[in-house]
């Protein structure tokens, strides 16, 4: 039976197919996504498996693909998305793909290397160029120095100021006659320059002339070199020995030195040649980049297709590693788990696969019986996927156990809505969910973790929003204000003279007045048609009424939810044919729960239905406590006649169920074991029969691994857990009241402190303030009330399901069915 109520019936099937058709068959099964391969070589490590080399090859190809993709991203090349379902290549195509990839990688690496070298050369040439340009003035200075060392003439007046200063500085050292100045020129990083200068001063005590200038950072320079600032420097010194020392210092500071020709003409020539070289290099660089872009663009068209092919190949080889290869190397044996209802589909896929590979022998399917537990497979669609995921997050169901997911589709949003209960917020949530559902595909491209979670749960959010609108209408709460659609049942006017006690003076004397429903006309007698009366929204004792109502509602909902859980355990017992457990477990549990907590619900409903005077009405909590303590004093008010007798009967029944739960089952197991042992020993005369029973007895011995002590302890734990858990879980459901109170109060505070401030301004500026304050109100509503409270209510509703509901029937000790599926493989990668 294929439905969501129970996990599917699975069967273990042996497959035999030929080695040639292996690839095609497995790829067909992978596209189907319905079979899970069992590991037939569990003792082999990863390196001992047969196809480990092929898997390594696939991983190498994946590495090359990742490198290619990184390069493409760096050069801003768009990777085209392919959509067609490609055929899986066989082993030959793998080799072809491998060689293509290796060639591509080598080519790309070489291009990158050349590019780097060319760029380095370009930087050097640019440095030389700037050096030559800037040292022009310095050389002019040097020339003037040389001429100035001659006896001064009238021409010397036309000196520049800087050379004047230099001449003054060097005039001490200048002698008559021509000076032979040699120089060292180079480029150094700007941050190192001060230290460089200091070292030179310390070494040479000023017997040199140092000039430096910053290289102007042009855009091109920045693009090629980056933001590093460099300075050009030139040092004029006397003597070769000093020059050698300076060279060593420059090397120490990692300044690059360039030889500069002495004469102007030579410098001009060098400048020109450097210019032409730079032009050439720039052109070469451009060509290299174009070529690289071309290679990458050609590869970009195929890279996704290659990627999916390689992934599929890797999955196929991994699967082949799980199978057994026959001795003759011609046959592959595989064991798969497969849903019984899909056997025909699997067979068709295998036949198609073998036809594609051109082999004559069709694969053989052989269903085998097994004692192993099959995996749990729940067939879901896009709507039920989310709910099944939140159930599986706690524990995957045991094979063929009842699946709580269909009930969760209704109860989870409902319990959320009881805690959230505001139709305005519910409406916003529903609209948001509708938007996410309509934009699901385009939102998936954002590839953010948070958006993935929201997209996965979009149907859950939709249902939560819709149920919240419903509970919001029941609580009559929309952004903390109530709707008066049907006319309130309470009326204030009859409280005044002549109907009632109030006069004009009463209004002046008292701050708070209470409406008296026994005065005729105040309460119309018929309650509000749907939900809470809107008059409570403006009453100052609103919370006393609502708290009592919500607490009782939470207890009723909680006990009903748990009773439903206990009933589901009955369904499990019937399915697994454990009829004994129905009478030993289900019935006592049900009686225990009904006689205590079912009676509590009865008290609540009864008290709501009858008319009582509020001064003398008994508290249900006190009634319940007195019932458990057998405390019946004469001044205690009871709700109805015969209550004492009924309560005593119910408590005794409940207490009686505890030993039934605790003792009967272990006793019965003990008795059956004694009986079988007695039977074996009683059959001694008939030898042949005896050997049979003895062998069956030894078989029983093996099953008797669980000792009586273990069974009794397990039963005791189960009983205590159930009985005490009943009380604590019922109290745990009070969180439904607590969270809904918190939500209502937060909503009211937000309205009163934010929006009401704007509404109460009556002057003309009121509307502008209202605009600003409404924006603040909206933002705070979304962040605090929708996101924070929503997450909180989601969490608590989930906890109620996982713990309080599911521990009444759910075992959750299965393992999930993970079929070989190419769709999910490719989806998880992206």
């Amino acid at each position: 039976m294929s439905s969501l109520f129970r996990s599917e019936e699975m069967c273990l099937v042996q497959l035999f197919f030929q080695t040639e058709s292996a690839h095609n068959c497995i790829s067909e099964l992978g596209h189907l996504g319905l079979v899970q391969f069992k590991d037939l070589n569990p003792s082999a490590t990863a390196f001992q498996r047969r196809f480990v080399k092929e898997v390594k090859k696939c991983e190498e190809m994946e590495r090359i693909l990742r490198y290619l993709e990184k390069e493409m991203v760096k050069s801003n090349i768009v990777i085209a998305a392919t959509k067609e379902k490609e055929m899986v290549p066989c082993a030959r195509d793998v080799l072809e793909l491998e060689s293509t990839f290796e060639k591509l990688e080598q080519e790309l690496r070489e291009i990158n290397r050349n590019h780097a070298t060319l760029r380095q050369n370009l930087i050097e040439l640019m440095d030389i160029d700037s050096l030559l340009r800037m040292t022009e003035d310095f050389f002019e200075e040097a020339e003037s120095l040389l001429t100035y060392s001659e006896p001064p003439s009238e021409d010397s007046v036309s000196m520049t100021v800087s050379s004047h200063i230099t001449s003054r500085r060097n005039s001490n050292s200048s002698t008559s006659g021509a000076l032979h100045l040699s120089f060292v020129a180079g480029v150094i990083k700007q941050e190192r320059f001060p230290a460089f200068e200091k070292v030179l001063w310390r070494l040479f005590h000023g017997n040199f002339v140092l000039r430096h200038a910053e290289i102007q950072a042009t855009e091109e320079l920045q693009a090629v070199r980056g933001a590093v600032k460099k300075d050009v420097f030139i040092i004029f010194v006397q003597g070769d020995h000093v020059r050698e020392k300076i060279r060593k210092v420059c090397e120490g500071f990692r300044a690059s030195l360039y030889s500069c020709p002495k004469t102007l003409y030579e410098r001009k020539q060098m400048s020109n040649s450097v210019m032409t070289q730079m032009e050439d290099l720039r052109m070469i660089l451009r060509r290299t980049e174009e070529y690289r872009a071309g290679v990458l663009t050609r590869a970009a068209e195929h890279v996704q297709e290659w990627g999916s092919k390689v992934k599929k190949m890797k999955a196929i080889y991994y699967t082949l590693n799980l199978c057994n290869i026959d001795i003759t190397q011609k046959l592959i044996v595989a064991e798969i788990w497969c849903p019984v209802s899909d056997l025909a589909v699997v067979q068709n896929a295998l036949i198609k696969g073998s036809e594609q590979s051109g082999s004559s022998v069709t694969p053989v399917l052989n269903r085998i019986q097994t004692q192993q537990t099959p995996p749990t497979f729940n067939r879901t669609n896009t709507f039920t996927e989310g709910f099944q995921a939140i159930i599986d997050a706690y524990g995957v169901g045991t094979y063929q156990e009842i699946n709580p997911a269909p009930c969760t589709i209704v109860t989870f949003p409902f319990l959320f809505a009881v805690m959230f209960g505001d139709c305005g917020h519910g409406l916003v949530m529903t609209l948001f969910a509708v938007w996410v559902i309509s934009q699901a595909e385009s939102l998936r491209k954002w590839k953010n973790e948070v958006t993935d979670v929201v997209i996965g749960g979009r149907y859950i959010i939709l249902l939560m929003g819709m149920f919240s609108i419903y509970t919001g209408l029941i609580y009559n709460d929309c952004f903390s204000k109530s709707f008066n659609i049907f006319g309130s049942s309470w009326c204030v006017r009859p409280m005044f003279h002549p109907h009632g006690p109030w006069q004009n003076e009463t209004l002046h004397e008292y701050h708070h007045l209470q409406l008296n429903p026994s005065v005729p006309g105040v309460y119309s007698g018929d309650p509000y048609v749907f939900g809470i009366d809107p008059v409570w929204n403006i009453a100052s004792n609103k919370l006393s009424f609502l708290n009592s109502f919500k607490m009782k509602m939470s207890v009723i909902l909680g006990v009903s939810h748990m009773l439903f859980g206990v009933t589901l355990s009955l369904v499990n017992f019937v399915h697994f044919r454990k009829f004994q457990d129905i009478f030993l477990q289900f019935v006592p549990q049900l009686i225990f729960m009904l006689s205590l907590f079912g009676y509590l619900i009865f008290l609540i409903l009864y008290k709501w239905c009858i008319t009582l005077r509020s001064e003398t009405a008994p508290s249900i909590l006190l009634l319940f406590i007195n019932m458990m303590l057998f405390d019946y004093q004469s001044e205690h008010v009871l709700l109805y006649g015969g209550q004492k007798g009924l309560q005593i009967f119910l408590v005794l029944t409940a207490v009686l169920m505890v030993p039934v739960l605790l003792l009967v089952k272990p006793f019965l197991i003990y008795r059956t074991r004694m009986k079988t042992r007695h039977q074996v020993f009683g059959n001694n005369p008939n030898d042949q029969h005896g050997t049979d029973t003895r062998s069956s007895f030894s078989h029983h011995q093996k099953d008797e691994m669980v000792s009586m002590g273990d069974i009794s302890v397990y039963q005791a734990i189960h009983t205590v857990e159930f009985c005490l858990g009943c009380i604590s879980n019922t109290a745990s459901y009070l969180r439904l009241w607590a969270l809904s109170l918190a939500h209502a109060e937060l909503s009211e505070v937000l309205w009163r402190m934010v929006l009401q401030v704007g509404l109460k301004i009556s002057s003309g500026m009121g509307s502008l303030m209202l605009v600003v304050l409404f924006a603040a109100f909206a933002v705070l509503t979304v962040t605090i009330l929708l996101v924070m409270e929503g997450l909180s209510a989601f969490l608590h509703a989930l906890r109620l399901h996982w713990v309080e509901f599911q521990n009444k029937f759910y075992e959750g000790s299965g393992y999930k069915f993970t079929p070989l599926s190419f769709d999910s493989l490719l989806k998880t990668q992206q």
């Binding site: 929204n537 509404l759 109460k760 009556s762 409404f774 909206a778």
Partner: protein
Amino acid sequence: MTKPRRLLYSVCFMLSIYSKHRLSCNKLLERYPAGSNTFWRMASLLFCGPKLAACGLVLSIWGVIMLAMLGIFFTTHSAVLIEDVPFTEKDMEDGPTALQNIYNLYNQVGYNCFIAAAIYVGIGFLSFCQVRLNKRKEYLVH
């Protein structure tokens, strides 16, 4: 003319001028598509990114609907909203006009809400234009 009404009219006037300007820009942009640089200066009226514009649009739609409904509920003198009306002790003195005073206050708050809703219509229109400009910019760049 009462103060809020004057304010409302001035706001509407400014909005109409601005919308005329924008419409003419959009018409020109439609006639000369494919991003000629001369019209880039007009498209520089874009002052917020796509996400901010979308948020502004959603906020304005919510504001228009909610404030309009609040305005209706105030002008029909709903009792549930009594705490949002700024009445004082003086308004509740015994007298023939006590009830009418309260109703007048209700109406004032209602009109404030309507004006705020109108302002949100303007903001919504602005955000919508920004959204369209952002989309156009996206297409032009590619």
